[in-house]
């Protein structure tokens, strides 16, 4: 089957400072997203390159190496207008997503006219009302209001409604609930799941929250310092992590369950001596400075993508004959 989105050895190098120091924000990422409705999570800590990866897929940044293929076509060979029909973003900060001087509804109307190319005025209003009700908003109320009159949750629903109007194949959601209150986060996440099931849209969901990722996603990629260290079905990656980094993440996650406290407290984490810049610069595995299983070849040779029970993991521990 032809994959929906394929990232082939994608790298992005940023330069900074007077001498043009370089660091690889995204380093040799290979991901295949199959053409079926699902939620694909890209998880990682701040500075892992997950947002840069999202921007690469959205064509905000151009990759320095590698290609991004949408239905076997390089995304840079697709026209602007067509591209926007396929891939749409939901941003992190709902308050900054809309122009405060205009009514948000105008933005929605423009999307419908320009991207979805609906000309008939009655048709525009009809589709808009349907979509707004679908995301759980009252169309007549929305139309009279400015951005500051909405709550964060409502604005995020509006962003989602705007995305749906374009009828995309892929929606990229970059930390869409991190600015919202805990009690309403789940509503937005459930809305994503519902859209996936009803409309067959594939979501690329970017987050640092592993518990939410487990709850909502079908597949997950764990990123560390620009590389994907492990990816596969989220159940197996998060329940039985293979890569030492994923294992450390899973063990340090504080869970809302007091029964797990004793284990969490007793298990100490080793935070090795490391400097962030060194981690980005190292030739081999980026996790080598902190890894309890580090070998000599980890520092010099980057581990390949190794398939273990359907999960792709980049660690020499799982190499044939190695370990």
């Amino acid at each position: 089957m032809r994959p929906l989105l394929k990232l082939e050895n994608v790298s992005k190098v940023f330069r900074y400072g007077f001498f043009g120091f370089r660091f690889r924000a995204v380093d040799d990422v290979r991901i295949v997203i199959e053409d079926k409705p699902m939620i694909f999570t890209i998880a990682g800590e701040s500075g892992s390159g997950k947002s840069t990866l999202a921007k690469l897929i959205l064509r905000i940044y151009r990759p320095d190496h590698g290609r991004i293929l949408f239905m076997d076509r390089n995304i840079y060979e697709i026209g602007d207008k067509e591209f926007r029909k396929y891939i749409q973003p939901v941003m992190q900060d709902p308050y900054a997503s809309f122009n405060p001087m205009q009514k948000p509804i105008r933005y929605l109307r423009e999307t419908l006219v320009n991207v979805a190319e609906v000309d008939d005025e009655k048709e525009v209003e009809k589709i808009m009302d349907q979509t707004l009700s679908y995301v759980g908003l009252n169309p007549t109320e929305v139309k009279g209001k400015y951005q500051h009159e909405f709550s964060g949750g409502e604005l995020q629903r509006l962003s989602i409604a705007r995305v749906l109007l374009a009828k995309p194949k892929i929606v990229i959601a970059d930390e869409p609930v991190s600015m919202l209150d805990a009690s309403i986060r789940m509503n937005i996440i459930n809305l994503f799941k519902k859209i996936k099931d009803d409309l067959g849209i594939t979501f690329i969901y970017i987050t640092h929250d592993l518990a939410t990722a487990y709850y909502m996603s079908d597949e997950i990629a764990i990123m560390f310092r620009g590389t994907v260290v492990e990816y596969g079905r989220s159940r197996s990656v998060l329940s039985h992590p293979l890569h030492p980094y994923t294992q450390a993440l899973q063990e340090s996650l504080p869970e809302p369950d007091t029964k797990k406290r004793k284990r969490w407290m007793e298990k100490k984490v080793r935070l090795g001596e490391y400097v962030e810049e060194e981690e980005f610069a190292v030739k081999g595995c980026k996790y080598v400075f902190r890894c309890p299983y580090a070998m000599s070849k980890c520092k010099t040779t980057p581990p390949p993508y190794i398939s273990v029970n359907g999960v792709e993991v980049r660690c020499w521990l799982y190499a044939e004959g190695g370990g």
Binding site: E45, S46, S151, G152, G153, D181, A182, S183, I184, R185, M186, N187, I188, I189, N190, H208, L210, A211, T212, Y214, Y215, M216, L238, S239, A248, L249, Q250, S252, L253, P254, E255, P256, D257, T258, K260, R261, W264, M265, K268, V269, L271, Y274, V275, E276
Partner: protein, 329 residues
């Protein structure tokens, strides 16, 4: 006013209000009474804007202009010598209370160090002021102290930008603890750090609390952190305490409808059951609703909830809840 022997701090009917203009004021903390016991880790939970940070500021006695406070915060300064933090002057607090008795770890703690000062100067500044000693002596004390905290001595010579975020956060914790305060307020100490570093910091805090046997007040919205760290919890909503309970009980069978919804909505690893969030949004604290602050979102709301504000009822010993559902007992 007397304080029970085991209480490190007692707050009675505390109000915190941001007065923006004569007409507009935000009532961020409303009629809060709590007691902090010695040698315990107590958590304050709630969503953003529920008043948990303001409460901490009032308890610490740090009121920046728009914030005004009412009520009594009684603290034992020396053996059976009690003062009300809110009635003394700021100079007095600076001289006698802050750092020595009560310490504060602010939000974003990795960015609070002065970028023009070496780490050692941060330590010696506090030591010189409070112990009335020279800078050289202070440096010696700081050197010894920092190695007991499990940090290398040469960090004292470094500038903040030369250290990693995690190191800086540990230094801020070490700074707060250096005069062995009785109470530490930690306001979201681990937001904006990754989970591995978060665990290192939280374990560091717990270890130090066990050593000093003092009170650690942990303010965070992350219920996972509460479950792993705290012994007792306070849940706040719209400026009020709505539930106060031992942490285990709170997670096992929360009583207040808001706490119930909050805990039920939390995703966990290995749990695939569907989760539901709450509808609506927290009330506007500029003009809070009549009656129970939660009634607009509450599935069990009855008529009386819209009219009268429920009192904080003692459900069991050490378990208080602000809801009419439990008043008939």
């Amino acid at each position: 006013m007397s304080v029970k022997t085991n209480a490190a701090l007692k707050a009675v009917d505390v109000y915190g209000e941001y007065v923006i203009s004569p007409e507009i004021s935000i009532k961020a903390v409303n009629n809060v009474s709590i007691e902090l016991q010695r040698n315990e880790i107590i958590g304050i939970a709630g969503e953003s804007g529920c008043g948990k940070s303001t409460l901490i500021k009032v308890l610490y006695g740090f009121m920046d202009p728009p914030l005004t406070a009412k009520g009594k915060v009684i603290l034992e300064v020396a053996n059976s010598y009690y003062i009300d933090i809110l009635s003394v002057t700021e100079d007095y607090r600076r001289e006698n209370i802050w750092w020595k008795n009560v310490a504060y770890i602010p939000q974003n703690s990795m960015n609070v160090l002065n970028p023009f000062m070496r780490i050692g100067d941060h330590f010696s500044e506090v030591l010189c002021k409070h112990l009335k000693i020279s800078k050289e002596e202070a440096y010696k004390i700081a050197e010894e102290y920092i190695s007991t905290m499990g940090l290398r001595k040469d960090v004292l010579k470094a500038f903040p930008h030369q250290l990693s975020g995690g190191m800086r956060q540990r230094i801020v914790v070490a700074l707060a603890l250096q005069l062995k305060p009785n109470i530490i307020f930690a306001d979201e100490p681990t937001t904006a750090v990754d989970v591995i570093l978060q665990k290192v910091l939280l374990q560091f805090l717990t270890e130090k609390q066990k050593e000093l046997r003092n009170t650690l007040v942990l303010v965070t919205h992350d219920m996972g952190v509460h479950a792993m760290m705290t012994q007792r919890m306070i849940v706040m909503y719209a400026g009020q305490i709505i539930e106060e309970a031992p942490t285990e009980n709170l997670f096992e069978e929360p009583k207040h409808p808001y706490t119930q919804a909050l805990i039920r909505s939390l995703p966990r690893l290995g749990d695939e059951s569907p989760k539901m969030g709450l509808g609506g949004a927290p009330p506007d604290l500029k003009n809070p609703p009549l009656g129970c602050k939660f009634h607009q979102r509450c599935p069990y709301a009855v008529d009386v909830c819209r009219r009268e504000e429920p009192p904080l009822i003692e459900y069991e010993k050490g378990w208080k809840v602000r809801c009419v559902l439990y008043s008939g007992r």
